[in-house]
Symmetry: C2
Subunit: 294 residues, 2 copies
């Protein structure tokens, strides 16, 4: 189905017919700097990539056509994802005119009104301010962050996950806003002193003198990943395992862990599923499994 | 210190001199619908409230003055908060002109350039679309959600915490992006079947046939509160306690918990610190402590 906006027409992708024109985007290193893979080497490789993406179950992709029906980019919904995912790419010469926002807004409207989707999501590299601005103009708001490493890049990066819900549908309130694991420890003040510098954490709340219960917030905001320390005698729990996604900070966290005065560190291992992990075991036996993209 | 914008001047609050003019905002039920307290009954009560707010440690409050130096509202930074918190209020007659955005932008600029703050935060009721739009225009993005109940209201509501960092300062990358507690259970598939409907959760990943490890995502997005189930023999952990903030969904979650086929429910109790809690204990002994504002 064709879609139209004030300045653009969106025509369903035909990889064979459109590869040549789209190669000006997919073959450009500057355009592909934020992409999951490096630029393609030829229009033929671009055609293969487009055919693959288009064949994914549920994919809906349109070429973006500006004046004179010129193809300037691609927009649509990714296939083979659990949460509908918005994607777009624009040739460099078409940047800076609001085309990405205009095209993606039409796709979202189509997805909500005609396809009946409940929500769409976009994954944007945290330093990609242009795409974050597109998302902001699309009324997509941040839902959380994760870490990713693209196979052609040496280091992982932070990714912002933004989303917009279909307000035409009845919205379910969020049933669970936050999960805070509770770690029973023999000595809450000593554990705070041990964990605060490793995790760059701040004490969100503390009860008792000396402290018997404390909340550690792992980030600079009022909300965010957190954990609670309680005096061991108040709880029946045994040692707890926590999996912590540490994004780009794996090495510095490991350094701080091995420099800590107590606790045991197991050295980093690379898991077959593409993550690096190290374990920091607290004196009370709790295991903090730090992981990042390998 | 006075601040000036294109259309407005911001003059440090003087509760005695400004109470009368500001009472058109604080005394108006429509303006106060999103506030932490009901409207004030008189200019004298407004003066008391302003004096209290102004006296909080670290508070920086300015009256917003439009044409002819008329006071149309208040803007500034809250005192006695751990993360600097933006606040604003506008008399109804001054709505819809972008005054809140213009005034708050000047306050943020002042806070970043002259005070040298690292970040500012705003807490906005999730259904307050006007204030969320102000935050969007101020480049404040969502950092998380929490639940609150104002003492004059019958029910709790969801609050969006939005924030903006001072990009003039060196930004620390987020050390920990996410914390996922790991629950060892005898039977992962049975536990999934038990927990999914109670928590409105979806399975983010599953390993093994039958499933030996699974990630439960507690929300509709790719990221969000989550927990991991592992087959008990793979782990040395004992029973785990998790504190779950369930916002407005306390009663429906409790209903689903007592209708579950297994597990034990302890009935809701009201804690002296202003929250309601109920505990759902899994067959493996793990305790899920659900809490919401009382």
């Amino acid at each position: 189905m064709k879609l139209a906006t004030a300045r653009l027409s969106l025509v369903p992708l035909d990889p064979d017919a459109d590869a040549e024109a789209l190669h000006t985007a997919y073959g450009d290193p500057e355009v592909m700097a934020w992409w999951t893979r490096p630029e393609t080497a030829s229009a033929a490789e671009t055609r293969l990539l487009l055919a693959e993406d288009n064949a994914q179950s549920g994919a809906m992709l349109w070429t973006i056509r500006a004046e004179n029906d010129t193809v300037v980019g691609l927009v649509g919904l990714l296939g083979a994802v659990e949460i509908p995912g918005l994607t777009w790419i624009l040739a460099k010469r078409a940047w800076g005119r609001g085309y990405a926002t205009e095209a993606a807004a039409a796709v979202i409207e189509h997805a909500f009104v005609h396809v009946g989707l409940d929500r769409v999501e976009a994954w944007v590299q945290a330093s990609n301010t242009r795409s974050l601005a597109v998302c902001r103009r699309l009324d997509m708001t941040c839902r959380g962050m994760l870490a990713q490493r693209y196979t052609h890049q040496a280091h992982p990066h932070e990714v912002v996950v933004l989303g917009r819900t279909n307000t035409r549908k009845r919205q379910e309130p969020s049933p669970v806003l936050h999960v805070e694991p509770v770690l029973p420890v023999a000595d809450v003040p000593a554990t705070l002193e041990l964990l605060q510098p490793i995790l760059s954490a701040r004490v969100g709340f503390a009860v008792g003198e000396p402290i018997e219960v404390a909340g550690l917030v792992l980030g600079p905001w009022s909300v965010g990943p957190s954990l609670r320390l309680v005096t061991a005698s108040q709880s029946q729990s045994g040692p707890v395992t926590l999996a912590l996604d540490v994004g780009t900070e794996f090495d510095s966290l490991y350094q701080r862990a091995i420099e800590a005065e107590s606790g045991q560190v197991e050295p980093p291992v690379e898991q077959p599923w593409g993550v690096r992990e190290f374990v920091f075991q607290l004196p009370d036996g709790h295991r903090l499994e730090f992981s990042a993209p390998a």
